[in-house]
Symmetry: C2
Subunit: 533 residues, 2 copies
C-alpha cells in the first residue's frame, strides 16, 4: 500500500496572506495538570475557533515573544474555564510559554513536523539515513510529535527493524540534540547495567572505589521507571541527587566522582520523551536500548564504559546467544562513536544483595563500604569485579591487577571515605544503616517446604516491592533472608515485606498469594550460570 | 529482549479487602470537549487522589449504577473546575455514564485491559490466534485501549506482520463485536472501492441500477476520512443520510436499496476506534484494509460483494503485482467468511467524473442518471460495468449480460426513478444539478503549455479540493475541464477551484502554486492502463 497524505498536511494553513494570518487571543493559565502533554483550551463560541476550522484534539501552534509550542486542543463550553477571546493552556504548556497571564498569543493550526515523511518511510519498512534520524529525533526532543506519532516510531523501530548502522545513526542523532559535558581529561570512566535485576546497586560502590583510585567518574543515573528503585532513588536516601549542572561539575572536580540524578543534565532529551511511550508498552528493544544508553554516556563525556549485561531465566536477557548478539551491537555502535567499551556478561539468576527498595538497598551499600559482617557478599564481589575492570582502563595498571586494587581500596576504608566525601558534597541526609527506619508494616513469607532455594523470580520480587510502595515510599520493599543454594526448613522465613501504608501492604500480600517468587527444590533443579561471574 | 511487566500491572489494585475498596466521589460534568477520549478531572487536594496514589495521565475506572468507564486522569488545582470530593468528567465521558450531575460514583485505578498480554506478544513478533484477536478487538471496541496501545496494535499489525490466517482472525473478531443486520434473503449485494480516487461516486449509480433490477442492495457508506468527499458526504447533498437503523431497514424493504451513512449502524465499532490512529499516521495496510472492509460488509448482511481496486501512479495501489496480492488476500478471507467476492481491478490513473467535492460530485451523478449530455462518460461507463458484474450475481442472468441490463435500466430512466424514490424515502434536500450553488469564490488553473494531458495527480487534486473546504463546505471543490488524453492550448483552463471562504481559497491557491497536479506532454508520455476497464 502507498501512504496517503495525512489530513494534517491538507489542513495546514500556509501563511503569507491577510486572511490566513494567525489569530490573536489573550493567554490564560488553566490549573489542570496534564503531565508531559501540552493541552490548549478554547471556547466553542470563540471567533477564532469558528473561523479557523479547528477541531477537538487537533494540534495547534501557540506563539508569543518568539517562543512557540505545540498543544492538543480541547474545546470548552464553560466561560469560567476559558472565555471567548482567551486561549487557555494547561500548567506544563503555560510554563513553557514564559509569559504572563493575559499576554497576547497567536494561535494557528500546527504544521505537521518536518520529519513525518521519514517516519512514514520507516512505517513502510524502509531504511533511514542519518539525516532522517536527526530530523526525527529533533522533532521528538522539541515535543513536536503526538503520542500516536511517538508510539509509531517506537514500534516501527522495535525488534530487528533497525540494522546496526541505523542504531548508530539513532545514537548519533540523540547525542546531537542534548547537552554535552566536557571534563577536559582523556580518561573519563563510567559503568552501566542494562537493568532488570533488583537490588543491583553496584554503581554506588564502584564510583567511590574508582574515584578513590583517582579516576574521573561523573556518574549520572536514572530514577526507577518500572523497577522498585533506580540508583538515583537509592542514592537519594543518603544525599541530595538533584543537582544543578554547575554544582555537579564542581563536585566531580573536587572529588573525582558523583552519584547524581541525570534528569537535570538534559543529556538525551529525546530519550526522556520516548520513555513516556516505551514504559506503558514495556518495550525495550536492542536498538533502542543501545541508542539510549550510549547516547547518554557519550553526552556525559565518558571515554571508557564498563557495561553489565545480566543473564538469567527472569532477567532481561535470557540466553547466552541473545547476550552475545546484544554485546556485538553495543560494541559496533561504541566503536563508531569512539567510545572504549568493555561488556561484562554477569549472573542475573536472582536479585543482588539482600534488600529491594531504596532504604534497604542503601543499607546494603553502606554495609559493604563499612566492611560490616552483615554486608551481602554477592553485592561486594560483583562491585569489586566491575570496579577492577574499570581500574584496568588506567594505563598504569596491568591487566588482571584491577580486582586486587579495588579490594584494597574497599578493605582499607578509602572507598568509604570517598563515599562520605561525595555524600557531604551533594548534601547529606544523615542516613544510618543501623537504624534504617524501614516501613513498620510487615509480613514474612515462609518456605512452603524444606529444601534448597533453586529459583528466585526477579520480576515477581520487583513487583512485590513495587506494590509495597517502592520507590515512592523509600522505606518500603523486600528484605531477602535466603538466596540461591541456601538450604531452608519448611516454614523458615524466606523474605520480609515492608510497607508504610496498609493498602500497599495488602497489594503486596495479594501478589505473594499469586506467587511467592521462590522455588524450593534440590540441587539438580538449580539453573546453571554460564557467565564470567 | 524480554518484556518486563508494565507499570500499570504493578500499580493495579487488587480488590477484596477494606483498605483497597474504591473511593466515592460526587460526579460533576466538566464542559470540556475531549472528542473521543475519556478524560476525568480530580482536585489535587482531594483525599482520594492523595490516598490512592493516582498520577496525572494514569487510567482510572469510574463506576455508577452498574455502568463503568475508563478515563485518563487530569489533576486540577482550581476548585471552580472540580472541588475536593468531586470527580469531573469531560462531556463524552459524562454522557457514557448515564447518570445526573452530583450522582455518587466510585473511582479506582483501572486494571490493564485483559488482552494486553496478547498485544505484547504481537509486539514481540509472535503469531496470534483467534482468541487473542477476539480479546484485543473487544477491548478496543469497549475503549479500554489508550492511544499508545491502539497505535502499538496498528503498527505491529502493519505491512506483512499479519499472515492471511491472522487477517481472517482479525476480520472474524471485528464482526464479533458489532451489530449484525439480517435481511432474510439469500442474495444481498454490495459494492465497495478501496478508495483513493477523487470523484469516484459509482455507488450512487450502482445502487439505483441494481435495486431497479430487483436486487437487495442496502448500501452504507463512510464520510470522508482524509479525502474531499465520501459517498455519505455526497449523498447528503441530495438526501438525509443519518438514519436510525429501523428506518434504514424500512427503506430497504420498500425500495430494495438505500444510500446511508454507516456510522449509526455500529457494524464494526472496533474499526471506528482504530481509524482514530490510522488516519493521523496515514496507515492503510493490506491486512487492516481487508479486515475493515469485509467485517463491515458481512455485518451488514451482504452475501455478494463487488470490490473495486483502482491502479495508477497516484492511486493507493500502484502496480499490478501489488493489486494481485491484495486481491488474493481479499479472496482468501472472503472465502473463509463464506462471502461471494468479485474483485475488479480498474483504471486509477486519474479522478473519475468531472467534479471533486460533495456538490460537484452530486451534480455529476444526477447528470448520469438523467442521461444529460453533460454527464461524465467515464463515471457512467465505470458504474455500468460494476453494476453489470453485480447483476450477474442474479442466478437468472447469463454471464456477460449484466452490462447490457444495467445500461437498459439507466437509459430507460428506471435508475433515475429508483434514485428519486430512495432520495424521497431518506428525506430529500431538493438538490437541482442545474443550479448546484457552487462556492462563489473561484479561480481557474490554465494549461502551462500546449499539448496532451498526460497525467492527473489524484493526491494533489484531492488536497486542493480539501484545502478549498470540501467536504465540510459542501459547495467547495474542484471542477475538472480536461482529462487524460485531451489536447489543450497553452492558457486553456484545466480546472476551476470553488470555495465559500476567502481563507480556504487562499490555501487552495498556495497548494496550486506548489503543483497544479496536471502534466502536459505528448501521447508517448501517457501512462498505460493494464486493467479490465
Amino acid at each position: 500500500m502507498t501512504s496517503q497524505i495525512p489530513e494534517t498536511t491538507q489542513a495546514a494553513p500556509t501563511p503569507g496572506n491577510g486572511t490566513a494570518a494567525p489569530a490573536r487571543l489573550a493567554l490564560r493559565r488553566v490549573l489542570i495538570d496534564t503531565y508531559h502533554e501540552n493541552v490548549a483550551y478554547m471556547h466553542r463560541d470563540c471567533d477564532v475557533y469558528r473561523a479557523e476550522g479547528f477541531k477537538a484534539l487537533s494540534k495547534v501552534e501557540v506563539r508569543a515573544n518568539g517562543t512557540s509550542i505545540l498543544a492538543t486542543l480541547n474545546v470548552v463550553d464553560d466561560q469560567s474555564i476559558v472565555a471567548c477571546g482567551e486561549l487557555g493552556l494547561a500548567k506544563a504548556a503555560f510554563a513553557q510559554m514564559g509569559v504572563e497571564d493575559g499576554h497576547t498569543v497567536t494561535v494557528a493550526q500546527a504544521e505537521p513536523p518536518e520529519s513525518i515523511g521519514a517516519l512514514h518511510r520507516k512505517l513502510g519498512g524502509e531504511r533511514l539515513n542519518l539525516d532522517d534520524f536527526k530530523a526525527i529525533v529533533q522533532d521528538i526532543a522539541e515535543h513536536h510529535y503526538s503520542k500516536i506519532e511517538l508510539t509509531a516510531f517506537v514500534v516501527a523501530t522495535n525488534r530487528d527493524e533497525l540494522d546496526r548502522e541505523e542504531v548508530y545513526f539513532l545514537t548519533e542523532a540523540m547525542i546531537g540534540v542534548g547537552r554535552h559535558l566536557n571534563w577536559h581529561e582523556s580518561l573519563v570512566v563510567d559503568k552501566h547495567c542494562i537493568g532488570g535485576i533488583p537490588g543491583n546497586r553496584t554503581s554506588m560502590l564502584i564510583v567511590p572505589i574508582v574515584a578513590a583510585h583517582g579516576m574521573l567518574c561523573p556518574k549520572t543515573s536514572s530514577r526507577a521507571i518500572t523497577s522498585p528503585a533506580g540508583t538515583a532513588d537509592t542514592m537519594e536516601v543518603l544525599a541530595n541527587v538533584q543537582l544543578p549542572i554547575d554544582q555537579l561539575e564542581d563536585i566531580v572536580r573536587a572529588h573525582r566522582g558523583c552519584l547524581a540524578w541525570g534528569g537535570t543534565a538534559n543529556l538525551s532529551p529525546a530519550d526522556d520523551v520516548l520513555i513516556s511511550v516505551e514504559r506503558p508498552l514495556s518495550l525495550d528493544s536492542p536498538g533502542q536500548m543501545v541508542a539510549s544508553i550510549l547516547s547518554k554516556k557519550i553526552s556525559a563525556g565518558s571515554s571508557h564504559l564498563v557495561l553489565d549485561i545480566p543473564i538469567g531465566p527472569t532477567a532481561k536477557v535470557r540466553s547466552m546467544p541473545e547476550a552475545q548478539r546484544l554485546r556485538r551491537l553495543f560494541e559496533y555502535v561504541a566503536r563508531r562513536m569512539k567510545l572504549s567499551l568493555d561488556v561484562v556478561i554477569t549472573d542475573g539468576r536472582q536479585p543482588i544483595g539482600s534488600g529491594i527498595g531504596p532504604v534497604l538497598e542503601a543499607r546494603d551499600v553502606m554495609r559493604v563500604l563499612e566492611n560490616d559482617p552483615r554486608a551481602p557478599i554477592d553485592l561486594r564481589q560483583k562491585a569489586l569485579r566491575l570496579a577492577g575492570r574499570l581500574i584496568e582502563c588506567d594505563p598504569d595498571v596491568r591487566g588482571g591487577d584491577g580486582f586486587a586494587i579495588a579490594r584494597d581500596i574497599l578493605d582499607s576504608g578509602r572507598a568509604l571515605t570517598k563515599m562520605n566525601d561525595i555524600i557531604r558534597a551533594q548534601g547529606s541526609k544523615g542516613f544510618d544503616h543501623n537504624q534504617p527506619g524501614l516501613g513498620a508494616l510487615t509480613f514474612d513469607i515462609p518456605a512452603p517446604r524444606a529444601g534448597m532455594v533453586t529459583g528466585i523470580d526477579n520480576i515477581q520480587l520487583a513487583r512485590i516491592a513495587s506494590l509495597a510502595g517502592a520507590p515512592k515510599v523509600k522505606q518500603a520493599g523486600v528484605d531477602l533472608f535466603h538466596k540461591l543454594g541456601d538450604e531452608v526448613q519448611a516454614g523458615a522465613p524466606l523474605y520480609r515485606v515492608h510497607a508504610s501504608f496498609g493498602a500497599d501492604l495488602e497489594f503486596a500480600r495479594q501478589a505473594c498469594k499469586k506467587s511467592i517468587g521462590y522455588a524450593i527444590g534440590n540441587v539438580a533443579d538449580m539453573p546453571h550460570a554460564f557467565v564470567e561471574f
